[in-house]
């Protein structure tokens, strides 16, 4: 009997339950930690049950399967990526708030056990990077980039569903680790030898390894897909230098994914070999060398931070141009700067381990390379400011995020230059100064960008604008909350408080940790505002509908389609003659025209490959984590068979007849004719149905 359960369940036992410790050994500390952990697990289970219940109640399972899970449509896949990102964001912010609360109360104690705190910062970091930021930016690029270059879909739609499946599997693994605990305590960077089995034999590190590996594979495939799409699928006349800047950053992001993800794949794979097959890459004995891991990890880690930042740069570029009613200033310099950043980002990884012991001249070389990145970034900041200069700036919600970014990101960049000086870094390395620095880059630079994109493109994706009162509240709370929560950490770092500290004994830290705790509360309020905004928007979706699809007087091709766009995006692929093609069409009176003739459109047919990937990927990772070898073999076999069988499939496309395309398009054109266009002054009113008054000549430079 015992033998059988070992075979079936591997090393999964009762002690994996989050309340086991508390029942076995009830002390105040174990009870508090147990209650928090059990509450989190309950929320996961409850959340899953509620979603399943709602789907059943409203009878939506079939629609979910047909229109979403098996859909190869890049727009829907993008939306699903973003949904994953938002759910994970919610969890990671709550964890961050708990950590802030712990440190606010942490003088000589606090309420969390070190073990629990370790899991919190590990999951928070891992989720924020791999399951919030990556899916979010992948989703936005997925949704927008093909529309902007005038394509019907990505180059490899089926691979796109596979990417989504891999990310979903990884995210699910991290969620399940709340119910069948624990997760790793090794931080998002998972440094050995702490993460080796000699020190950490449990399942936690294995959860981390497989979740991260799934995400990495997903991003590599995504990067390939984006790059090939941009190279091969641009519409007629859309040469590279006519692409919107967002497509340029997508290309550079894709290149960074293609070349930046492999080092992490190698690092986690070698760590897994150490842990599972007794290899000696990073062990402290038998010729292992943990410095190799640190080197590999950051050879990924630095390109990664530019994967995170670049898409937001593109988003802000679109937003600054659009809400200033002007062409983007310095397009060419922005393109060059983006490419320079992409290449330079491969040359600086050592700045994450200045203190590892290499010679001063090695540090100096990488320090200087790091500072060089400030130059192209500075170019961008000036270009954005000059885009606004003498424009008719509209302070819409995306613009609020963008302006917040412009100021805060510059500050964060300056603290980065400070850290790039090796001798200074020796002082503040591994302190909260660093934590302040990278949040100062990531929250304005990544999160605000994503939220701005969400507000900006939401009407395109769903056909109605997001509610604005709660939207402004959210934006301002994010900015204020961020400043309150993270500026104190600069001071704490300089006072010498190390990162990942659960308790401290220096009373001088207390005022600062309290202030940061207050900031976390404001951030929680911001998240609440975001939820309210979404809720109100759905409620008011009729009033705020923008079915014509151009609510902001947009400049690029995505605004030339209905909202939401049909699955084939364009009834006839457009031809492009300049930058800002849609603005040009509108001012030349050539927008919303009937094409001479319609043709059949071939689109990829639905496929279950994404779902199969998600299920087998999750089960395989789960089996590996808990040593359920039968599960690993079974799911691996199913995945292999599915891939081979897919090769035999033919007729994987679906033809949409010209007549149907024509009918849909003409219905929309009739709507256009019936709709009253609005000026920018009425952009935020209910009169905005998504049709803009053609721009006066004066507004365009």
């Amino acid at each position: 009997m015992n033998h059988l359960s070992d075979l079936l369940l591997g090393r999964l036992g009762r002690d994996a339950l989050p309340f086991w410790e508390m029942l076995k050994d009830p002390t105040t500390s174990s009870i508090i930690n147990g209650i928090i952990a059990t509450g989190a697990a309950a929320m996961v289970i409850l959340g899953a049950l509620v979603v399943a219940g709602l789907l059943t109640w409203y009878g939506k399972w079939k629609i979910l399967w047909r229109d979403w899970l098996t859909s190869p449509d890049h727009k829907k896949i993008g939306i699903m990526f973003i949904i994953i990102a938002m759910v994970m964001l919610l969890r990671a912010v709550i964890e961050a708030a708990i950590m802030r609360a712990q440190q606010a109360l942490g003088l000589g104690g606090g309420f969390l056990s070190p073990e629990h705190f370790g899991q919190l910062f590990t999951t928070h970091g891992t989720i924020m990077i791999f399951f919030m930021a990556m899916p979010f930016l992948t989703g936005v690029i997925n949704h927008v980039m093909p529309l902007q270059i005038g394509a019907r879909d990505l180059s490899f739609p089926v691979m796109n569903t596979v990417s989504l499946g891999l990310t979903a599997a990884g995210a699910a693994l991290v969620m399940v680790s709340l119910v069948l605990a624990p997760f790793s305590t090794g931080g998002w960077s998972g440094y050995p030898p702490f993460t080796e089995s000699a020190v950490n034999p449990g399942a936690g590190v294995d959860y981390w390894i497989w979740a991260v590996t799934l995400s990495t594979l997903s991003s590599t495939l995504t990067g390939i897909n984006f790059a090939v799409t941009i190279y091969k699928k641009r519409t007629r006349g859309m040469n590279l230098m006519r692409m919107p800047l967002f497509c340029w950053v997508s290309l550079c992001t894709a290149i960074l994914m293609i070349f930046g993800m492999p080092p992490l794949t190698v690092a986690t794979a070698l760590l897994a070999l150490d842990r599972y097959l007794d290899f000696h890459f990073f062990t402290a004995d038998l010729g292992g060398n943990m410095m190799n891991y640190i080197n590999l990890f950051w050879a990924f880690g630095h390109p990664e931070v530019y994967i995170l930042i670049l898409p937001a740069f593109g988003i802000y570029s679109e937003i600054f141009a659009n809400f200033s009613g002007k062409q983007l200033y310095g397009y060419t310099t922005l393109v060059i700067a983006t490419m320079a950043i992409a290449v330079l980002s491969f040359t600086v990884w050592l700045h994450h381990f200045f203190t590892m012991g290499q010679s001063a001249h090695v540090n100096a070389v990488f320090g200087i390379a790091t500072m060089l990145i400030g130059i192209p970034t500075g170019v961008k900041i000036y270009d954005w400011m000059l885009t606004m200069y003498r424009g008719r700036v509209r302070f819409s919600i995306p613009m609020v995020y963008a302006l917040g970014f412009l100021m805060l990101f510059t500050l964060g960049g300056l603290s980065g230059i400070i850290l790039a000086t090796p001798s200074v870094d020796y002082q503040v390395h591994n302190s909260l100064f660093l934590v302040a620095h990278f949040h100062n880059m990531l929250i304005p630079g990544l999160l605000f960008g994503m939220l701005a994109a969400y507000n900006y493109w939401f009407p395109k994706a769903f056909g109605f604008r997001l509610e604005e009162r709660w939207g402004y509240r959210a934006a301002f709370s994010w900015i204020i909350g961020f400043m309150l929560a993270f500026f104190p950490l600069y001071a704490l770092g300089l006072l010498g408080m190390p990162r990942r500290t659960v308790t401290f004994f220096t009373p001088a830290y207390l005022p600062w940790t309290l202030a940061a705790g207050l900031g976390a509360l404001v951030i929680l309020f911001a998240v609440y505002c975001l939820i309210m905004q979404l809720w109100q928007s759905v409620r008011l979706r009729q009033e705020n509908a923008t079915p014509i699809g151009d609510p902001w007087d947009g400049r690029s091709l995505e605004w030339a389609t209905p909202a939401p766009p049909p699955e084939y995006n364009f009834p006839v692929l457009p031809e492009v003659y300049s930058h800002d093609p849609f603005t040009e069409q509108k001012s030349g009176g050539r927008a919303y025209q009937r094409p001479e003739r319609y043709a059949d459109i071939t689109m990829p047919a639905n496929t279950a490959m994404g779902v199969i990937t998600a299920v087998t990927g999750f089960l395989m990772a789960f089996g590996l984590t808990w040593y359920m070898w039968w599960l690993v073999i079974a799911s691996g076999a199913v995945a292999l068979i599915a891939v081979i069988a897919r090769g035999y499939a033919r007729n994987t496309t679906r033809v949409i007849p010209a007549a149907e395309v024509q009918r849909t398009h003409e219905r929309w054109l009739d709507d256009v004719a019936r709709t009253t266009p609005v000026t920018r002054d009425h952009e935020h009113t209910r009169a905005n149905r998504g049709l803009a008054v053609p721009p006066e000549q004066g507004a365009i430079q």
Partner: protein, 207 residues
């Protein structure tokens, strides 16, 4: 060489295969990008191997474990299979001759399988001499790098078998042609990686 400009790496099928030829531009390019990403993985494993050379921890080293003969045989098997795969591509392109195509593919497959078999034999010999991955950092690095290449070859062989099945079911339709073009690239690519392995690991280790 060919009169038309080349659209993608590897042998271009050309106009007579219009449908596959134009689809290939995107498919093969995508696969090529994937290969480059894989190249980085191998490159980093090579670099890691070089940094672990000194981590022998008193265990057996290259001199005791590697044999020139085995490495040479494996090199020849792969090189010849690269050539025969090239012949298969030509048979596909010019005559659409199923018989010769399948013969060349089968020869390549046999050579590939022989390579894997011989490599396994080599590993077995190393194990007998105490060269197991858990012995030292150096051996760990060896057994991450070289078997990863072997795994790739295995995957390529499985793909080839699956494609032979597809030929049986669908004939030489454009789906098969696209896959064959990509598999050819993988096959040649693996031979390139092997150049690195026999040069750095085996020859470098024995020099």
């Amino acid at each position: 060489m060919s009169t038309q400009p080349s659209r993608h790496p590897g042998l271009n099928l050309g106009e007579p295969h219009a449908e596959a030829h134009s689809a290939n531009e995107e498919f093969v390019f995508g696969f090529w990008v994937f290969m480059m990403s894989d190249f980085i993985i191998f490159g980093l494993l090579f670099a890691t191997y070089a940094t672990m050379l000194g981590g022998q921890a008193g265990g057996p080293g290259p001199d005791e474990l590697f044999e020139l003969r085995g490495a040479f045989i494996e090199t020849m098997l792969l090189l010849v299979s690269s050539f025969t795969f090239g012949m298969a591509s030509l048979a596909l392109k010019y005559r659409e001759d199923r018989k010769w195509l399948i013969i060349w593919l089968l020869i390549s497959l046999v050579l590939g399988v022989a390579f894997i078999g011989h490599e396994l034999l080599d590993f077995h010999r190393m194990f007998d001499k105490g060269g197991v991955p858990s012995r030292s950092g150096f051996l760990s690095a060896f057994f991450a790098l070289v078997p990863l290449h072997g795994l790739h070859v295995t995957a390529a062989c499985i793909w080839l078998i699956a494609l032979l099945g597809q030929i049986a079911v669908h004939g030489l339709d454009h789906g098969v042609k696209i896959s064959l073009t990509r598999l050819a690239i993988l096959w040649h690519f693996l031979d390139i990686v092997w150049i690195g392995i026999f040069s750095l690991v085996y020859l470098g280790g024995l020099a």
